[in-house]
């Protein structure tokens, strides 16, 4: 079942054509690797899908409906979540507080609506267990490793019952062991039937986890094929421009 369909998406920033004529479709539970050199337009594409800004041209369909997002909350409302490159967590708050930031659970005490700490703690703990992460819900994010932070950011998306999760370079700044942890998390998202767009510079990440690889160059999509039908050599050629298309 096709979840997301992009049709001839273009985006310009003044004179800069950041994206031109990008078509893309993603099915539920599919993990798509999005690769390309710096400035190729990966983040711009991710931001359009996430509703950070609208495309200059082209249309988007999500779950069979044409969509146009004015703000990120609109995209979130239909089930599109983003794990940002720099994670966007408040590191003075606990893991649970970050997971629930902006959608806190409450309980009523007399006339007051107060935070339901224990419910949020339990739910966050369950999410981390589900993600097989050792992150503790009550720990401050400040004290966490890069991998645990990823788990917090991903747990946020799970909480929202996301259907498509966009991860912009989740493995850019973390250690080898944590990379394995994050890739395992992506595998678990796939098992749960969630589609993932994984933006990465790291060839092994893509070839280990993704079903498909999409390569961008100077704002255009130059390749879109099953992982099994491609190779790191071919993708490298596509990224650098040594290969025109594949």
């Amino acid at each position: 079942m096709t979840l997301l369909t992009l049709d001839a998406i273009g985006r310009s920033f003044g004179a800069i054509q950041a994206l031109a004529g990008v078509d893309l479709s993603i099915a539920a539970g599919e993990v798509v690797g999005l690769m390309g050199d710096n400035g190729a337009g990966k983040s711009t594409l991710a931001k359009i899908i996430a509703g950070n800004f609208p495309p200059s041209s082209g249309t988007m369909m999500f779950d069979g409906q044409q969509v146009a997002f004015a703000r990120p909350v609109d995209a979130r409302a239909v089930g599109i979540e983003v794990v940002y490159q720099d994670l966007a967590l408040a590191d003075n708050l606990s893991a649970a507080a970050n997971v629930f930031l902006g959608r806190e659970l409450h309980r009523r005490i007399g006339p007051f609506l107060l935070l339901d700490h224990s419910a949020m703690q339990q739910r966050a703990t369950a999410l981390f267990r589900e993600l097989k992460s050792e992150t503790r819900a009550e720990d401050l994010v400040r004290q966490m490793s890069g991998g645990q932070r990823q788990a917090v950011a991903i747990a946020r998306t799970r909480l929202a019952d996301a259907r498509l999760i966009i991860m912009d370079e989740p493995t850019a700044a973390i250690s080898v062991r944590q990379v394995a942890e994050v890739l395992a998390l992506i595998g678990r998202l796939r098992e749960a039937g969630i589609a993932v767009i994984l933006i990465s510079h790291r060839m092994p990440d893509i070839f280990e986890t993704c079903d498909r690889v999409v390569v961008m160059r100077r704002g255009r999509k130059v390749a879109d094929k099953p992982i099994a039908a491609s190779s790191p050599q071919e993708v490298t050629g596509l990224i650098t421009g040594a290969l025109e298309t594949a």
């Binding site: 408040a90 708050l93 970050n98 902006g102 806190e104 700490h117 004290q143 490793s145």
Partner: protein
């Protein structure tokens, strides 16, 4: 840092985490030690009269410091609080004079209620202007509230022509008993402070808005992306800061019986210092009401000690400055050691 392996991260011992590891905790310790030393050096320090005096004096600062802490939590600053204290007190005193002379004066307490409400409303208005300029127009808090410091103080002098305004009218006694009275010997300002501090604690730790205040100071962009109403929360903390300042100004008016145009002039530094000494981090995200209370208490106890020890009062500001720097230095050394 990237090499920390998750399973190796143990929970810190109870004394090394949470409150006990906070700046507020060791400043409380320092406060206790200073109180003991002072009691030993000058027995009059522990006399009931002196304690009530200290408690009353520090309550005014601490109440405003609660608001300053809220603002600092969002990584902002409010320099206008001293002026807002004075302007609110002046407007309240003037309103009280007018309402007492009007038909409202016929009902006991009505003239006073209207005057106090009017005063607080004006404080709210100033906070709203600060907040909207900072949250919507994205002006820097420092410059905006520095401007407001001058605007509000200027209004104080312009309205009173530089003279004081006395608390007069039929409700004057009631006003005095509600601002400067006591319950079983405990001065009312201290009681108001404790109620407000407790309320602020509940707000910060048990409501979504309170949590957003922390989130905003921790990572404003993250808060925005998570759908936190950033502008509303920011505006709110400046309104709260102005309201608390206005309330403290009204309490001081009751204590003094009249409001000079230079009321609370220069207090903003002591107020912000109290918050910072108590553990509020000027870069945002860390702090709380107990810090404001403890910080204000520490400053007042030391000031009082200097007076009792007959140290030239001109040294007070110097010493307060030294304490601020010392508290921040200790905090820095501590966080470097624990690597957080």
């Amino acid at each position: 840092m990237a090499n920390v392996i998750s399973s190796d991260m143990r929970r810190p011992a109870w004394y090394a985490g949470g409150f006990f590891a906070s700046q507020t905790a060791y400043v409380s310790g320092a406060l206790a030690i200073i109180v003991i030393i002072m009691a030993a050096l000058a027995p009059v320090f522990l006399s009931l009269g002196n304690l009530i005096n200290v408690a009353t004096n520090f309550s005014y600062i601490a109440i405003v410091s609660l608001g300053a802490t809220l603002v600092i939590l969002t990584a902002g600053i409010d320099l206008s609080v001293g002026s807002v204290m004075a302007l609110t007190a002046i407007l309240t005193a003037l309103l009280l004079r007018w309402t007492s002379a009007s038909p409202l004066g016929a009902v006991p307490g009505l003239a006073m209620s209207v005057a106090v409400l009017g005063g607080l409303l004006s404080a709210c208005g100033i906070g709203l202007i600060n907040g909207l300029l900072i949250a919507r127009l994205e002006l820097t808090p420092f410059v905006t509230t520095l401007g407001m410091l001058s605007v509000a103080r200027g209004l104080c002098y312009a309205i009173t022509r530089g003279a004081g305004v006395a608390i007069t009218g039929g409700d004057a006694d009631l006003f005095s008993s509600l601002t400067d009275g006591d319950i079983l010997g405990v001065p009312l300002p201290l009681i108001y402070l404790l109620i407000l501090a407790a309320g602020m604690g509940v707000f910060l730790h048990h409501t979504a808005s309170g949590r957003y205040v922390f989130a905003l100071g921790g990572n404003e962009r993250a808060a925005r992306l998570a759908g936190v109403p950033v502008a509303r929360i920011k505006t709110g903390v400046y309104v709260a800061s102005a309201l608390l300042a206005g309330f403290a100004g009204i309490l001081m008016a009751g204590w003094l019986g009249s409001v000079p145009a230079n009321l609370a002039q220069g207090y903003e530094l002591r107020i912000i210092a109290a918050a910072v000494i108590g553990g509020a981090n000027l870069s945002g995200g860390i702090g709380g009401p107990s810090g404001a209370v403890v910080g204000a208490a520490l400053i007042e106890v030391i000031r009082n000690g200097l007076v009792l020890a007959r140290v030239d009062t001109y040294w007070q500001d110097t010493l307060v400055g030294v304490i601020i720097i010392a508290a921040v230095v200790v905090d820095r050394l501590r966080s470097r050691r624990t690597g957080s």
